[in-house]
């Protein structure tokens, strides 16, 4: 028992220490690296709490994807970094920020300490109805059946964030290729990895997405792995990002939400409510939605990381 306590205390100290490092380090690049380490430490905390689905998503999205996005941002900010570091806010602003942060932390701690004991839980009710969804992983059951509307909106939000990134494009480059052209040595180590790894990574991504019905996994971590493979190929110059005006690309981007909405509206006729599944076909319908989602998530996240259009489609 004391061993597990020591492990948990060490883990908590690690997370807090890395969080302090993330905030206190002055260089943007170092802060991003610290943030990625923080995400990985947090992943271990989720594993320790037996929340494997959350751990997978934290590792894939919270640490990996966000880390790449922030690295891109740090690279773009490099020119203005010296000015930003020199421009230190006044003592009043810093004191106010510290007071606000302390207040939020105190409120969170108080809320946590005054939680009713035993905590209110819907877990038994959720588990009792789980067989009707055809899922054996309770997390996927909740995401795809009980709270399907939330999951649908979440996918739309990711799509809207991509539109937000694209809207940063200059007018004359609209419809062009995202990001700058990557110049990597075609015989170099990165190009080698970009040729060898994606076959394995794409299979692993599909496997993790498929596994989500019964075990920790699902469309989001699976789609993120596929997006990472695409990004790797783009960064190594093995393939180029497609122009964002391509019809097939737009179709892939809306495939997930469109299939989700179609299944949702068909619920009016087959099960009597929006986003309701007829019990006999619940699993099949959820799998159909998940397939669309994996496609959309992989394409959306890959393009999010590639950035706004910066090169004209016309040579």
């Amino acid at each position: 028992m004391s061993w597990t306590l020591a492990l948990e205390a060490g883990l908590a100290a690690l997370v807090l220490g890395v969080a302090v490092w993330t905030l206190s380090v002055r260089q943007t690049f170092a802060a991003v690296v610290a943030f990625v380490v923080y995400g990985l430490a947090l992943t271990l905390v989720w594993v320790r709490l037996s929340a494997l689905d959350v751990a997978l998503t934290e590792a894939a999205i919270g640490s990996g994807l966000t880390g790449v996005l922030l690295l891109g941002a740090a690279a773009r900010l490099r020119a203005t970094e010296a000015d930003a570091v020199a421009e230190r806010p006044g003592a009043g602003v810093r004191a106010a920020a510290a007071a606000l942060a302390a207040l939020v932390a105190l409120a969170l701690a108080a809320a946590l300490l005054y939680l009713p004991e035993p905590a209110h839980t819907l877990a038994p009710a959720a588990m009792a109805e789980l067989p009707a969804t055809g899922m054996r992983n309770a997390v996927t059951g909740v995401l795809m059946a009980y709270r399907a509307a939330d999951t649908l909106l979440e996918k739309v939000v990711v799509l809207i964030s991509l539109i937000g990134v694209w809207s940063l494009a200059q007018d004359k480059l609209w419809g062009g290729r995202p990001g700058l052209l990557h110049h990597a040595d075609p015989d170099g180590a990165l190009a080698f990895l970009a040729r060898r790894l994606p076959p394995v990574g794409i299979v692993a991504g599909i496997y993790i997405a498929w596994l989500g019905a019964d075990q920790p996994g699902g469309a989001f971590p699976g789609g993120t792995i596929i997006a990472a493979m695409w990004l790797l190929a783009m960064m190594a110059g093995v393939t180029d990002a497609p122009p964002i005006s391509r019809r097939w690309l737009r179709l892939v981007l809306v495939a997930g939400p469109a299939v989700f909405l179609a299944v949702g509206f068909s619920g009016f006729f087959t099960a009597g409510a929006f986003l309701a599944y007829p019990v006999a076909y619940a699993k099949a319908l959820i799998v159909v939605i998940e397939v669309g989602m994996v496609l959309t998530i992989a394409a959306t996240l890959g393009l999010l990381m590639a950035g706004p259009p910066e090169r004209s489609d016309k040579p």
């Binding site: 080698f192 990895l193 790894l197």
Partner: protein
């Protein structure tokens, strides 16, 4: 038989942990990027390999055991490539200075 397997697991995982410890000490103590990379790859490759080896008898089947080996091979590939890239970047930076 299970006692022998347990002893094997403990010995292999302890040996793996030792390589991680030594690699971390090297990462903290060595003077420049290339020697630090050298220390780190020992931890990644050999340390993780030994930990995976120790976990194999406890994986509970052939398929989970193969998955563990696949993870080790993927980390091997990734760490080999990443250390190449970091090494190249470090050399370019030292030339610029």
């Amino acid at each position: 038989m299970s006692l022998v397997l347990d002893v094997f697991s403990i010995a292999a995982i302890c040996a793996g942990a030792f390589f991680f410890l030594a690699g971390t000490a090297g990462l903290l103590r060595f003077p420049d990027a290339l020697t630090r990379l050298h220390a780190l790859t020992k931890a990644d490759n050999l340390g993780l390999g030994l930990v995976v080896l120790g976990l194999l008898p406890r994986a509970g089947g052939v398929l989970p055991a193969l998955k563990l080996i696949a993870i080790w091979l993927l980390v091997l590939l990734a760490s080999a490539i990443v250390s190449q890239l970091i090494g190249r970047a470090a050399r370019r930076e030292s030339r610029l200075q």
